[in-house]
């Protein structure tokens, strides 16, 4: 009997698209039902010793859009990509697979993703489908490994005060439908930092996102993830603004289909 639960869920929003990366404890082929509108909650009842008692709610969806995961076959990692979405908006969705334990669907809890009203950067769009080189960049302290394993040193510590920046080497992201950047960082000391992440457009740096870095400790989840726009040759820059030492431990750019 097939069943699964989500062991990881990441919603990577851009200005007008949503990428959902989920992992399950057991392999299956998943679908996503999503809608701009919150599904109706219908109360459900149970009979306890002859007495009818409300016991919760069921979500009733009115013609949701159904998309299939990007990967073929049964997998434990599931990727969904929703392009050309209306912003600002909230996407309500759940993941499901047919043929559950008792012939019904296997369903995830209800999830939501808020799309910010950010205008798409024109540089992002013109990067699409330029080359077909595969690759990945991954770091393991104390060095960064890029594609062929060549090391890039010096990406561990970004200053103790003020502004400091570090760049990744160039890499290719054009062939994949969506990419994911994961990095692990740590602030040391009593001050907080702000981290800005830029991506190289070929003619200049475009701001991808900024994060507030609280003092002390690693990020709670150990990683922050977001979608990376496609580019034939791009690179990523991490810039720290603040007054305490900040460490960048690992970077992973995953654009496996």
């Amino acid at each position: 009997m097939t069943w699964w639960v989500e062991t990881y869920l990441l919603c990577a929003q851009t200005a007008a698209s949503l990428a959902v990366l989920a992992e399950t404890n057991l392999a299956d082929h998943l679908f996503m039902s999503w809608s701009y509108l919150h599904p109706t909650r219908h109360p459900i009842f149970t009979t306890i010793r002859g007495v009818l008692k409300p016991c919760g709610y069921k979500y009733i969806w009115d013609t949701p859009t159904i998309v299939e995961q990007d990967q073929a076959g049964d997998t434990t990692a599931h990727r969904f990509y929703l392009p050309a979405l209306t912003t600002p908006s909230t996407i309500w969705f759940y993941l499901w697979a047919p043929a559950g334990p008792y012939g019904l669907e296997i369903q995830s809890p209800l999830h939501r993703a808020d799309l910010a009203a950010l205008p798409p950067h024109p540089d992002y769009l013109q990067w699409l489908f330029n080359t077909n080189m595969e690759g990945w960049v991954q770091t393991d302290a104390p060095v960064i490994w890029f594609n062929d394993g060549s090391p890039l040193p010096g990406c561990l510590q970004l200053g103790s005060t003020g502004t400091a920046a570090v760049e990744s080497p160039t890499f290719d992201t054009s062939w994949a439908p969506v990419c994911y950047l994961t990095f692990k960082h740590k602030s040391v000391g009593g001050g907080s930092n702000t981290l800005a992440i830029h991506i190289w457009t070929g003619i200049g740096w475009a701001l991808l996102t900024t994060y507030y870095l609280p003092p002390h400790g690693w990020t709670a989840a150990g990683a922050i993830n977001f979608a990376v726009y496609k580019s034939a040759v791009t690179k990523i820059r991490f810039t720290k603004y603040g007054f305490s030492t900040w460490y960048l431990d690992t970077i992973n750019v995953d654009f496996t289909p």
Binding site: V5, Y8, N25, S33, I48, V51, G56, D62, Y94, Y102
Partner: protein, 98 residues
């Protein structure tokens, strides 16, 4: 088993949980000694269903923090816990297309 004129209140019924089993059969309220099950007397499908249910319930520990938080928020205004909602979903009773 004894036939009753009416079922007592739910508080009384739950107070006798494990001792007296109140139930309704064919519209007749009844009471009986609390049934005792042993695994040896359970059929193979029942054992399999129980093992499956146990595995699903225990899988709640595998959920990531953000999903658990969503479930906790969802369970705030209903009798079910976040884990109950998750189990309901795995068994296919959480969502329905109109």
């Amino acid at each position: 088993m004894a036939r009753l004129d009416s079922l007592p209140s739910l508080e009384i019924i739950q107070g006798f949980k494990g001792v007296i089993d109140y139930f309704v059969t064919r519209g007749i309220p009844c009471a009986r000694r609390w049934p005792r099950y042993s695994k040896g007397r359970m059929s193979a499908p029942a054992l399999q269903a129980a093992a499956l249910f146990g595995a699903i319930v225990q899988a709640y520990a595998l959920l990531p923090a953000n999903v658990k938080q969503e479930l906790t928020l969802e369970a705030a205004d209903q009798p079910r816990s976040g884990r109950d909602i998750m189990v309901s979903g795995v068994l296919g009773h959480l969502h329905e297309h109109s």
